[in-house]
Symmetry: C2
Subunit: 253 residues, 2 copies
DNA sequence: CTTGACTCTCACCTTACGTCATAGCTTAAC
DNA sequence: GTTAAGCTATGACGTAAGGTGAGAGTCAAG
């Protein structure tokens, strides 16, 4: 059999780069049938065939090392690999769906709240994350909302920390507004955001009613942890928050 | 403000590795607020906040360089970037769907045809690809099936070449079966596969009828191009094919 | 014999870090 | 004061799948 393909010919026919052929030779995935005395790589039909197989699996996003194994193994292993790969792809697809919905949420927030700054972008958590976070949050803050707890799965602490950071950011912002009127629009806007965060923490099965939210506001007044930001204490913060929350609850809930 | 986070603290709180913080420092994505005299990195709340933003975009699979730009730009650019990224993700998702269906087709084939060897795996082309290939194929083989040609989009030649290679592989296989009974199961199985390939080439709007397929078989007998494989001629191939195709057409179509 | 097309082998660049190696700093215990 | 534990720093190499040259040898044609 004549080995009829030079690197250029094979690369053109198969639609890959010459460098790719070199690479495949280097890693032993596709060796030329022979080498001319000058060292030129020459491929035959068998290699063209193998290249097609390689490209098939490459299109499916198999890594080259796996393609190696697959081509060197039997049909059973191939079946297994394909079935497994399908699962991987499905997982990937699911993840992308989540990402897209996260983007949608974020876009919505950005468009709606005109005065929302980029610093708050990371607030666009997906629903699933918030779901899982609730459990941790409930544990952490010792709320006794015991019903519908078991079926929630727990997430890593870094996610909890994220939420903590969000709250901290909001607090910092609010602490700079204590000289303003608690019923003014800017303040109320932040409070609304706070309300939504709390609602996310509690989840759809634990609706934050008007009364619950007012109660939360009262809690803040009496807990010094919530009225100090960045080490500096801010005694008027408690009363300020209480009034702002109360006003919001009575007018918007 | 006290810069309270060492690399370890920050990494733990945010759920990233220390190396990651080093890296972000190296590329200027997240610089520490200050360095101690010993050179230790110290971060403050502002940096923690920025890290959260970074992680948000990272979760969405933005590359770090883009995250750089986004964090340094205004809200409008952020909105744009998010909207564009959504498109990218959607395209990815679509592609994965195609890949999954390709795997399904391949799995089906492998399970159904027990004597199909791995060498034929790459035959699991997606329907879209086959669609596009038709046009090229029709042009190439000069068939005058002119209706419904315009609305087919053309694909690269490497795809055509793939199909050619497939045909060649099938031919090689069949050429080794010429001593067998053309009506026997193994031969008929290959013929069935051949028929399906032809059908794919012609497409759903150009059904390969019994008569058409028999006619094709006759063509093979009278065209030497089809009866030589790998340089060596195989005169009995024509007659063999003709009988095999005819038998298949009359019994299975 | 030279030009142009083709080929070869290094070898560095890319992403987003992981994984050592080696060395300096800090702090609590002795 | 010293020492050991624990923390930190800066290199520097490795990863996947090639892209992009650089410098040099090879081949067929004029």
């Amino acid at each position: 059999m004549e080995e009829k393909y030079s690197v250029k010919k094979l690369s053109k026919q198969a639609g890959v780069s010459i460098r790719t052929l070199h690479h495949y030779d280097d890693i032993g995935l596709l060796k030329p049938a022979v080498r001319t005395e000058a060292g030129y790589r020459m491929y035959g039909d068998k290699e063209m065939l193998k290249l097609q197989q390689i490209l098939f699996f490459k299109e499916l996003e198999f890594p080259l090392t796996e393609i190696q194994k697959i081509l060197n193994s039997g049909e059973f292993e191939t079946l297994e690999a394909l079935a497994h790969h399908k699962k991987v792809l499905k997982a990937k697809q699911k993840r992308i769906s989540t990402l897209i919905s996260t983007i949608d949420q974020t876009l919505e927030k950005l468009k709606k709240g005109e005065n929302m700054k980029i610093d708050e972008l990371y607030k666009g958590f997906s629903r699933q994350e918030a779901e899982g976070l609730r459990q941790e949050a409930l544990k952490k803050w010792g709320e006794k909302v015991t019903h519908s707890e078991e079926h929630l799965t727990s997430l890593g602490k870094e996610k909890v920390n994220r939420l903590q950071t969000e709250f901290k950011a909001l607090w910092m912002k609010l602490s700079q507004m204590t000289k303003m009127d608690p019923t003014s629009e800017p303040v109320q806007h932040e409070i609304e955001y706070h309300y939504k965060m709390v609602q996310q923490f509690w989840g759809p099965r634990n609706p934050v009613t008007r009364e619950a939210y007012i109660g939360l506001g009262e809690m803040y007044v009496h807990d010094d942890r919530y009225t100090s930001v960045e080490g500096r204490n801010n005694p008027e913060m408690g009363a300020f928050l209480n009034r702002a929350v109360k006003y919001f609850a009575e007018h918007s809930l």
